[in-house]
């Protein structure tokens, strides 16, 4: 399941909604990305995220399909926010559920690594002097995504 939204989300409520009434799920893994107050040694005071409506949902759905093809996951939820966000607020949530922990762990890790390099979102950081800068792509994110390429 894919959700692209402006509003904040409640991690606990999302996990509960996914697992309530289910007795076949043995493992739930969640990853939450938060707005932090520094980047590349600079102080950050706020974040804004732009995205490409339409293509964002398509890319996220493709990433979910890929994960479902590679691992035995019973449930998969990706929530990604856009718009303005304050420090400490959640940006992204990935939840995976599987009968055993390994599939849920690996699928969640994969989903985040691929999402970072494929989903059309762009971060803009605000600093203390009121300047706004576009965030640069990270080499480490590209390396992390590449790790899953030969796994098929």
């Amino acid at each position: 399941m894919i959700r692209v939204q402006r509003e904040k989300f409640d991690i606990g409520a999302e996990i509960e909604a996914l697992t309530t009434g289910r007795t076949d799920i043995g493992a739930v893994v969640s990853f939450t990305g938060l707005v932090r107050d520094f980047n590349d040694g600079n102080k950050v005071t706020g974040l804004s995220l732009e995205h490409y409506p339409g293509m964002t949902e398509r890319e996220l759905a493709k990433i979910e399909d890929e994960a479902r093809g590679r691992w035995d996951i019973q449930e998969c939820l990706i929530i990604h926010r856009h718009g303005k966000m304050a420090l400490g607020e959640p940006i992204v949530l990935v939840v995976t559920a599987s009968p055993h922990r390994r599939d849920a762990f690996e699928a969640a890790h994969f989903l985040m690594d691929w999402l970072k390099t494929k989903a059309p979102f762009w971060k803009q950081e605000m600093n203390a002097s009121g300047e706004v800068n576009w965030v640069n792509e990270r080499e480490s994110d590209l390396e992390a995504a590449k790790r899953w390429s030969s796994d098929t």
Binding site: Y52, R58, I91, A119, P120, F121, W122, Q124, V135, E137
Partner: protein
Amino acid sequence: MKILYFAWLKAKLQMTEEVVSCSDERRDTDSLVRWMKKRGPAFEEVFSDLEVVRIAVNQEYITGNTTLSEGDEIAFFPPVTGG
């Protein structure tokens, strides 16, 4: 054809989207980019380093030159930084 710009490309070009017709000089993505570069200093700057410009046609990433036709949606944007 609808052309969309995102992130710093949008800011530098001061444009979110525009409509251009499909013509001989805009028949594929390579020729479209060549045409873009000749539109003025801002366009020349934005398209000077194609290593930092990603292209999507009809909301799918393209890797090589892609044929265009009327009604296509072409998007230009920088490497993504979500998550």
